[in-house]
């Protein structure tokens, strides 16, 4: 073995964690800046010349935000809309993905093609149409409109991921379950779903994050301040009239936490799920 290879072997145990720290910081630094900004009075955030550390430390920001009724209302909307639209996506995508993976029927390819095309439609390009539809249905400013929109525009990705998973599970497994006396739905629930768990987790995480961070449709549809989700609501901490940068950033940090926890808990499943449908 060559000399560099040996010295690499020796330095590896400490070199990799050091690089790891650098990589971690490369992704975290803007949010560390944000955290520091949450711990200083708003005037200090926008002062020339800038200082990296707060000139004055302010510890009450998170208490203020969590005690703000508007913030709690936005948080409630975000949680309600994200959880509901994720639940709808999973419940609707599973049968569609299962049927297209397992059965052959006229219109199957057409359906999959339509799903692929809707993946390319973004709520942003369609926002005028979305507004007009819900206006004519008298659903502007309702949670239902936001939930349905988030569910519909994330459905395509979920169907494709799950379709890949269902396709990759051998039919024989299902046959065995059926021979053992499982009905079709029992087979789906007891045999197929556990095996597609990584795909389900992936679809869940993607839909949840997309719904949690959706902006343009919520901005257009939700007129009541109390019905806005976090992404739209917290912007009113910094407007032309009042500037509470500390509260904006404190609220933003709180908004990141649920998603990162969700990630930390299911990261292992997620990595299995991202390309299992397409990488064979």
């Amino acid at each position: 073995m060559s000399a560099p290879a040996i010295s690499w072997r020796r330095s590896r145990p400490w070199a990799l964690p050091v690089v790891g720290l650098a990589v971690g910081l490369a992704f975290l630094w803007p949010y560390l800046v944000m955290l520091l900004d949450a711990f200083r009075p708003s005037e200090d955030v926008v002062q020339t010349p800038p200082s990296l550390l707060p000139r004055v430390w302010k510890w009450s920001t998170f208490g203020e935000v969590l005690g703000d009724e508007r913030f709690l209302a936005w948080l409630k909307t975000s949680l309600l809309v994200s959880v509901a639209s994720t639940a709808i996506v999973v419940l609707v995508a599973v049968p569609a993905a299962y049927a297209t993976a397992r059965f052959r029927f006229p219109g199957r390819m057409a359906f999959l093609f339509v799903v692929l095309v809707t993946q390319m439609f973004s709520p942003t390009s369609l926002v005028v149409g979305i507004y007009r539809e819900f206006f004519s249905l008298n659903l502007v400013n309702t949670y239902l409109a936001l939930i349905l929109t988030n569910a519909a525009f994330n459905l395509a990705f979920a169907i494709w991921i799950l379709h890949g998973f269902f396709s990759s599970i051998p039919v024989e497994l299902e046959e065995a379950a059926e021979l053992d006396g499982c009905g079709r739905f029992a087979t789906l629930r007891r045999v197929m779903l556990p095996l597609t768990l990584p795909g389900l987790v992936t679809a869940t995480v993607f839909t949840f994050i997309a719904a949690w961070n959706e902006y343009v449709v919520a901005l257009t549809l939700m007129l009541d301040d109390t019905k806005k989700p976090l992404t739209v609501g917290i912007n009113s901490y910094v407007t032309g009239y009042e500037q509470n940068w500390d509260q904006l950033f404190g609220a933003s940090i709180i908004a990141i936490v649920p998603v990162v926890i969700l990630f930390a808990v299911i990261e292992r499943h997620l990595v299995g799920g991202l390309t299992a449908g397409s990488v064979k």
Binding site: P30, V33, S122, V128, V259, V260, L274
Partner: protein, 328 residues
């Protein structure tokens, strides 16, 4: 779309799979498990999905088409049919050429840089080292954070007066006067691209981590025994095997980056006109921010957007022979 290559049904409508060798009882199960069913039976499984797609994706699309053929008052009231006027007006907009050029630069630069950097990040994240879990969580954060907030955060970080980038560069005496990242015509696009890449890496890196995980370790061992250098192994073994993941990541990123609204909209907010807009923010400004507040024109621009990304992705899939890859 090419022909439905995955269809297993023979000419008689029975499965073409080799069922002959199996016992009779299992053959029925095969028909059930992988069989042909009537469109009506299929509808039972697909109905909820079709309802959502038709009700909340296609209906707005139809509304968008109708809006694009209508004339609106500045307050958004429909005044009557407009024929093709809205489309003509969009095409005649002086800024259209600039906006299209911006969009092409924005999408290609962000997607290409994202893919290249994510390959390295993913390679690193699959190595085994102390603290890897924490690094993986850290990489997730830009994805978990709302794009609007990340964009607002970067308007501060980039700021001429109180931005931390300028603060650090000034402290290190690398520059003597602050850099106007968002106000300079030369710097704003690279500044926006940097943020675009930053927020796109987490998703992309995770697609690659999954792709790397799918490559059997034996392949790399064999190549090493054959005396391949690390670079040769990566270039000739890893990269080709990662192709499906790269395809998935680039298509998804193309769609996301093209449709990305908050970064360009927020970082570019202080600049007047359309000189640094992409087609998505251009469309939004036509409806809600321009002097005319023209819903009809905005709808027409929205339709152009849908068509542009549709054609771009289909061409990309064609060029990269996506289907061939799927069939292997």
């Amino acid at each position: 779309m090419s022909q439905p290559s995955t269809t297993m049904t023979g000419a008689t409508g029975k499965p073409a799979a080799p069922v002959g060798a199996r016992p009779r009882g299992r053959r029925r199960a095969t028909v059930r498990g992988r069989g042909a069913i009537s469109p009506l039976a299929a509808l039972v499984w697909l109905a909820p999905a079709l309802l959502l797609i038709v009700g909340v994706v296609l209906w707005p699309a139809v509304e968008l088409v109708r809006a694009s053929r209508s004339r609106y008052s500045i307050t958004g009231l429909r005044k009557g049919p407009a024929g093709w006027d809205n489309f003509r007006n969009v095409l005649a907009n002086d800024s259209l050429g600039t906006v299209l050029t911006n969009t092409v630069i924005w999408v290609i630069a962000v997607v290409a840089l994202t893919i290249a950097i994510s390959l390295g990040v993913a390679q690193f994240l699959t190595k085994d080292f102390w603290g890897r879990r924490f690094v993986r969580w850290a990489v997730i954060v830009p994805w978990a954070a709302s794009l609007v907030i990340t964009a607002r955060l970067f308007t501060l970080i980039y700021s001429y007066y109180y931005g931390s980038i300028n603060a650090v560069l000034l402290d290190l005496h690398l520059i003597t006067t602050p850099i106007d990242f968002l106000g300079s015509d030369k710097l704003i696009m690279p500044s926006m691209i940097a943020v675009g890449v930053f927020v796109s890496i987490p998703f992309t890196a995770y697609v690659f981590v999954a792709g790397l995980g799918a490559i059997p370790t034996e392949v790399h061992e064999a190549a090493r025994i054959d005396g391949g250098s690390p670079w040769q192994i990566w270039r000739h073994i890893t990269l080709p095997l990662l192709r499906p993941a790269i395809l998935v990541a680039s298509v998804m990123n193309m769609i996301y980056v093209f449709n990305s609204f908050p970064i360009v909209y927020t970082l570019n907010e202080s600049n007047p006109g359309f000189s640094h807009d992409t087609t998505i923010t251009f469309m939004y400004k036509l409806a809600f921010k321009s002097a005319e507040k023209d819903v009809g024109q905005s709808a027409a621009a929205g339709l152009f957007n849908v068509v542009i990304i549709l054609v771009a992705v289909l061409v990309y899939l064609r060029v990269t022979r996506w289907r061939d890859q799927e069939e292997q």
